[in-house]
Amino acid sequence: MGKIERKYLAHYIDASFGGTTEYVRLGSDLEEYNEELNPDVEVKKNILGEQTVNHNGYEVQSDVDPYYAEEGDDLFEALAAIANERKTGDDCKTTKVDVLMQADGTVVWAYREDVKVIPNSLGGDTSGVQIPFTVYNAGNRTAGTWNNSTKTFTPSNP
């Protein structure tokens, strides 16, 4: 059993932000991308020496940095609109799909989740216009199937 190549774990963001769904893949400029789970865990010990662990859930987020603007890139246009118009709240809300595939394209699993996408800066160095952003997962995580040709997600239990 060999290692799974990183390219087979794909991350898509709906660039329509509430319009007609249009998933675009993240990562063409990323050498690394981590979905930080940030587990909220509290470990306690009582006077008897017994240890208890309270796990209160996760605060999942991920940074996309760098993100280079490309002409005709719908995600860049959406991000630029958020940044330029100082949008907040549900105006920054969209969905994200994480997909693990096999080398032959077979989908192993796929999950969709609501997210809020917040740009962190706009500009960058001479290598090109950049708009790095953070993806904050906002719940409603749903398992389903992923069609890699049409870039569509279908929930298992709609």
């Binding site: 390219k7 794909a10 893949r25």
Partner: protein, 166 residues
């Protein structure tokens, strides 16, 4: 143990061809004057000599399997002549320095006309794109022979990107 230098062979060939054409478009060349590839006549001429080949300088693979390579193609241009006066030597040096500036996409003035290279030519091999050409030295006298022939040299390096999906 020194790191092994990886050479992009396909890229080297593509760059050599395109660069030779580009050098021959330099507006500072006299009528009938031609830049030759890796050769010079015994007493005069201009030649373009790749120093090594296109060395892979950086290789970055994204999480999507997209690979970006930055390759460096060092080369030199040698002007061979038998100058009789200091003024002739100055003219040769000036010509090579002007060539360097022109290749860097800087404006240059030749015979009261300003020229500027607006874009680098496309490379025919794969997704390779020339990003920069820059001087790594000013023009200088590299060799002087007993028969009065001198080789003036300017060293440059061309950087190009190569992109593909693994």
């Amino acid at each position: 143990m020194p790191a092994r230098t990886v050479i992009d062979i396909d890229g080297s060939e593509a760059v050599s061809k395109v660069l030779l054409t580009l050098l021959n478009q330099f507006p500072g060349l006299a009528e009938g004057q031609k830049v030759l590839f890796s050769t010079l006549d015994e007493a005069s001429g201009i030649g373009f000599f790749p120093s090594s080949g296109a060395a892979l300088q950086r290789n970055v693979e994204s999480i999507t399997g997209h690979v970006r390579q930055v390759c460096l193609y060092p080369f030199m241009v040698i002007y061979r002549a038998a100058p009789k006066t200091e003024a002739q030597r100055m003219r040769i040096k000036e010509l090579l320095d002007t060539l360097g500036r022109w290749l860097e996409e800087q404006p240059v003035t030749i015979n009261n006309t300003t020229y500027q290279l607006s874009a680098y030519p496309a490379l025919s091999s794969g997704n390779r794109v020339i990003k920069t050409i820059a001087r790594s030295s000013p023009a200088y006298l590299n060799s002087a022979y007993q028969n009065g022939v001198e080789d003036w040299l300017i060293a440059l390096q061309l950087t190009y990107d190569n992109e593909f999906d693994r």
